[in-house]
């Protein structure tokens, strides 16, 4: 469990409206460091896997064109209180992160 992922879930009519934010720089590789004038290497999440009670339900592929601290909103039907939602991400530098939440 790490602090890179933040969830916000709203359950209505058995549909979970899930909003997540992953704290990540999502560097394009085109920006320069203002002080050193050096190019900041590209650094971005390319894959996000989403699970509902351990079962994969959605997979996301991203590019460097996704905004810093990526936001993702999706909807999970057949959801009830107590269900577990999980996400796991991987980036181009081999870093990864994950987070889970329980629907309340």
């Amino acid at each position: 469990m790490d602090k890179t992922v933040r969830f916000r879930v709203r359950l209505k009519d058995n549909i979970a409206d899930v909003k997540i934010m992953i704290f990540h720089p999502m560097e394009t590789g085109y920006r320069k460091n203002k002080h050193t004038a050096e190019i900041i290497p590209k650094h971005f999440i390319h894959t996000v896997k989403i699970g509902h009670n351990g079962k994969p339900i959605m997979e996301v592929h991203w590019s460097r064109s996704v905004s810093k601290n990526p936001y993702l909103n999706f909807r999970v039907p057949n959801a009830v209180i107590g269900d577990e939602l999980s996400i796991a991400w991987d980036d181009n530098m081999g870093e990864s992160g994950a987070g889970t939440t329980t629907i309340s």
């Binding site: 592929h61 064109s65 936001y71 909807r75 999970v76």
Partner: protein
């Protein structure tokens, strides 16, 4: 075949099932670096498995695409997509004039609604193309987003 072998075989097939679950279109199980590195919109669209852009069916009425008309800030452009096309498997997003037009690719199982909202970067005024793959057929819609860099803008 003893019990443990049986169990292993079952586990293997279960794992195989899980990994195929997220591969509605052939060959795109993993993040496809080549597709994401294409710099031309036509090549970029071809890279997802569309040989002829003419085969794309217009679905402006069945794909709800919400984007600003004028982006307040090109670094953070909200986008929301809802596909009303039955058996939607994937939603691709392209920003035509970004250095690499393919922005994202969302793969849905039947256990999630064919809806997604996110935020994207746009370097300049351009069309955002959304391509939906449903039941093996590609559909498209597009909208223009104006990106202005005014005197008071930031970054």
């Amino acid at each position: 075949m003893n019990l443990s072998k049986k169990r292993r075989a079952f586990l293997n097939s279960a794992l195989a099932l899980i990994s195929t679950l997220l591969i509605p279109a052939k060959g795109y199980a993993r993040w496809d670096e080549t597709a994401y590195n294409e710099v031309d919109i036509a090549d970029s669209i071809r890279s997802i498995g569309i040989r002829n852009p003419g085969e794309l069916r217009d679905a402006s009425k069945n794909i709800e695409l919400s984007l600003p008309e004028i982006a307040e800030n090109g670094a953070i452009v909200p986008i929301k997509i809802l596909s009303k096309i039955p058996k939607t498997e994937r939603i691709f997003v392209f920003a035509e004039k970004n250095p690499q037009p393919l922005v994202s690719d969302y793969m849905f199982t039947p256990d999630v609604e064919p809806f997604v909202a996110s935020r994207i970067k746009m370097g300049e005024t351009a069309f955002v193309h959304v391509i939906v793959l449903a039941d093996g057929i590609f559909y498209r819609t597009a909208r223009q987003v104006k990106v202005t860099i005014g005197g008071c803008g930031e970054e």
